[in-house]
Amino acid sequence: MLYPAEWQALWLTIKLALFSSLLLLLLTAPLAWWLSRGQSAGRNAINALLTLPLVLPPTVLGFYLVLLLSPDSWFSQLLRLMGIEALAFRFEGLVLASMLYSLPFVVQPLQQGFGQIAQDLLNQSKAFGANNWQLVTQLIWPLSRPALFSAFILSFAHTLGEFGIVLMIGGNIPGQTQLLSMLIYDQVESLNYARAHLLSGLLLLFSFSVLFWLYQQQRGQQQQGQQQRSQK
């Protein structure tokens, strides 16, 4: 049904969504925790900074990233000193761009989820002798699992649909940076409407399935919570 180039683009899209979502979760969870633990001008400034990708057009972020990642930039020279090649037009550059672009989709659900864990509960657990590791593994992790899950799915789904910024950073190179969204654009330009229909339908179905699954999971968790409350 799909040609090798299409499988490649599909796989690259899934790989990018997986990599960037997992890395984002790992890197932003401590920050989201800190942001959820109080209000201050500093926290608000960081929150505003992290939400910027939601309001800025992808071209703004793409433009700055192209400058930052190009081989002659200070950033690329710094990377070269560490033995790393410039990131523009490479998969690693796409991961970085996707992470930046999906930041609010991960930080905001995490922040909300962490914010629902009452400080009193943490203080009481500490008073009963729980150490930080026990707090994280036995209290924070189980309570924030739904938020982590939502953040991951939102970031994953968002990355599947990326186009502008990844086109600017990646350059639509088959097998290296060409994602499914770019391949669809390519097929439209080439007047291959049948392939464009097929790939668009595939992406539509896949994105719908992911979101449907997310809502089903959330509903399941809500029902579970209600049952636990009624049992108490």
């Binding site: 490649q8 796989w11 190009s70 998969f91 350059g171 330009e189």
Partner: protein, 260 residues
């Protein structure tokens, strides 16, 4: 099943087109260049993967580190700029491979191109800021006596190939594109079925005329070559496309070819 195997292969090893060499090409070559690449693959066994965009965009990408050792541009302005930025030790080269021609497509309900320009609602052209055929189309329209009226009807698309898409989907009744996007019948027969059908549909819906060359600045298609150790076969490919045996191809694609 073959697809699943490929996915698993991609999971195990990073899914890169290591066997293919990459080249960048102007959007007006989007339909015809794959035909040439197929011929080259059949003759030499070397697979070359093209990346298409407007010449201006590709030139920007190459300046910012895109890994193309050959760039087939639609304007020598871009290849000359890239050459100037090359250091002598990079041994970059440029050259001319053909003069592009602008064609006007207009819907059958208009009798002539003049009438079409006057009475149509939308005229599709590529973005003149970074697409050479867009620049040529704008120069042609600006010389027209009705320019103030025509200006309001212009619909810009990202590149020359998207103008064709606008015409085939009825978003504009008149369009100015590169001849290579409406190649001669002999070359059209070699295109994939879906592209042939779309071009035939456009031919049924409207007429195509070559715009006389005196109405727009010359569209000098040029190549830019930057030797890369990772892509050693590109030089051979460049020599192959410039060889006299390929002249018929370029003529069928709507280029005026001179001696290289």
């Amino acid at each position: 099943m073959r697809g699943l195997k490929l996915i698993f292969a991609c999971v195990l090893v990073s899914c890169h087109v290591s066997a293919s060499q990459l080249i960048a090409a102007a959007s007006d070559l989007r339909l015809v260049l794959p035909v040439l690449l197929q011929q080259y693959l059949a003759e030499t066994g070397v697979s070359i993967e093209p990346v298409f965009a407007s010449s201006g965009k590709l030139s920007q990408q190459i300046q910012h580190g895109a890994p193309f050792s050959l760039f087939l541009a639609a304007d020598s302005l871009y290849t000359n700029n890239l050459l100037q930025q090359c250091s002598p030790k990079q041994h970059c080269q440029t050259g001319f491979y053909g003069q592009g021609q602008l064609v006007i497509w207009y819907h059958h309900r208009f009798q002539t191109a003049e009438q079409a320009l006057k009475h149509s609602q939308h005229i599709a052209i590529a973005d003149p800021n970074h697409a050479p055929y867009g620049k040529a189309a704008l120069a042609y329209l600006q010389q027209h006596a009705l320019w103030p009226e025509l200006e309001a009807k212009i619909r810009r698309s990202d590149n020359a190939a998207l103008v064709l898409h606008m015409l085939s989907t009825g978003q504009a009744e008149v369009g100015l594109i590169g001849h290579a996007l409406m190649p001669e019948a002999r070359l059209q027969q070699l295109l994939p079925q879906s592209q042939q059908q779309q071009l035939q549909l456009l031919q049924k819906l409207g007429r195509t005329e070559v715009v006389p060359a005196q109405f727009y600045p010359p569209i000098r298609h040029s190549w830019f070559y930057r030797p890369e150790t990772k892509q050693p076969e590109i030089k051979d490919f460049l020599q192959w496309i410039l060889a006299p045996q390929q002249q018929q191809f370029w003529t069928d694609a709507g280029f005026k070819v001179e001696h290289h």
